[in-house]
Symmetry: C3
Subunit: 220 residues, 3 copies
């Protein structure tokens, strides 16, 4: 039987791998070469954690001091490179794994931020950053407005999961329990958002205002 | 009567709030959802200070250890979300407040960099970075070439204000005096630049060279 | 006769200068003002080293604690601004110098990462990051997908050079010897890649898959 720490490590590595797949897929779609594909894989899989570690002062970041994250990213990049169609066909499972990865990252990120003495609100936000940072940087490198800024409760699910961990910590619950509850909440929210196409409201203005906004932008 | 430190704190918070408004407005213009609006508000209000703190080794950054900056950003985001037209109508006052925010950030940023032992030239530059970093990241997240790289003496005003603080420090003037002078200089420069549409010169080349430059770019 | 350290410092400064030229040229092509040109020059010349220093915890980064890097960047920016056509005409020599800069940065970056206790694989990668980071950020600020993600063995040459330094360290060779060998390897690879238009393979899919990929992207 495997212990809880082994499980968390496995999930963490699995999250990196799935996020890296998403980066590699995006890179292939944009016709990057094999090096660009590997970079996007690494960035998508690890940038969230690296950002968190820089912000809390945990240098060098875990993604740079343990080689397994690099290996998982490279493997994801190579698999995508050599069997793009196969990976593409796995799209639904990848979405599921991605939700798992998001949950694990959010929960683990919040835990690490608490450990480094951040206050509760910020610890929850850093959990969210851990979860969404990789995807944001992936999109920026490919010159797209980050998807996470526009869709599907992605970030909110991560924030909710991380918040549970923080609240659990405040209530002095064991980390394992809070992490499990937070992870489940994040996964469920994300799963429902995909399944029922839940969306957050967008800022709204009338057509006239919209035209004006466009004009104002040009004037600037 | 309020003391000078309270005043600086209030201005600092006010600067964060006004910058956050600029981020939220840009996000609404691009049809981001409420989460994206809040992220842009936080980034525009705090990214400059976070960058400075990372570069001088002050981790976790102030924007993450004091919750008031987060609250000011969220409030700015919500207000913009719920009354977009109202905020839009305040455009001229917002420009004014933005100039105040820039001045406060530049002056406070230079002061903090000196405190952390940076050399004078770099302290002035970090003051500038504190002032312009939020707006740069806001534009990058929305896939625009940062406005600050093209317009209105924005960065130069921040640099001038920060330089006054540094020079004051070298001359052993009290911080309050230098900060006030620097802030006023920055505000005045920015105000005049808006009022009289002052611009810095752009790099120039003949039409033939320009066509060639375009061609070279494509070749690369 | 000049010592080896002086030589390394000179090359390092020369690398900063040449990279800064590339940033300034790109800024002039995009019609940025003089301030934007100087920013791009500084970023292209120094962002790789700054990223490395943040990741290994060497704050404040060398580019901020020694003024010579700033001076070299400003000089490159001003020269480009005042004699754009002259600099443009030097394009082939600039490409050569750029290859020298890349080699020096990769080798020096790997050496510094080893010094700060990074493991061998990560030290090599950080050498690469030192070499390519400036160019990546230059392209991002100008809203282009970083060239280094698509072309010419640029990053791979840097990685190879950095790897030689790391292997030399593992074999306990003197740093000077390993650095020289690594630098030469990087330069040669890059030179051959330019001369013979070597490219890495890109991810490939059939026309049908490509159309589908495009469609999927829109759906997201």
């Amino acid at each position: 039987m495997i212990g809880i720490e082994t499980l968390v490590n496995l999930l963490d590595l699995g999250g990196t791998f799935v996020f890296a797949i998403s980066g590699a897929l995006a890179a292939v779609n944009r016709r990057l070469d094999i090096f660009g594909i590997l970079v996007l894989a690494f960035v998508a899989g690890n940038f969230g954690g690296i950002t968190r570690d820089l912000l809390i002062g945990a240098v060098p970041p875990a993604a740079l001091s343990h080689e397994r994250y690099l290996l998982a990213s490279i493997m994801a990049g190579l698999i995508t490179f050599f069997s793009y169609s196969g990976v593409k066909r796995l799209r639904s499972p990848v979405l599921l794994f991605d939700a798992v990865g998001l949950s694990v990252f959010a929960v683990a990120g919040a835990g690490k931020a608490i450990e480094f003495g951040l206050n509760p609100v910020m610890a929850a936000l850093l959990g969210m950053v851990t979860g969404i940072g990789g995807g944001m940087m992936r999109d920026l490198l490919l010159m797209e407005i980050p998807q996470v800024l526009r869709s599907d409760l992605y970030a909110l699910a991560a924030l909710a999961g991380a918040a549970v961990v923080v609240i659990g910590h405040e209530l002095a619950l064991p980390y394992g329990v809070a992490a499990l509850a937070g992870g489940l909440l994040c996964f469920t929210l994300r799963f429902m958002a995909i399944r029922y196409a839940w969306r957050l409201p967008v800022g709204h203005f009338s057509a006239r205002e919209r035209a004006k906004a466009g004009k104002d932008e040009e004037e600037q």
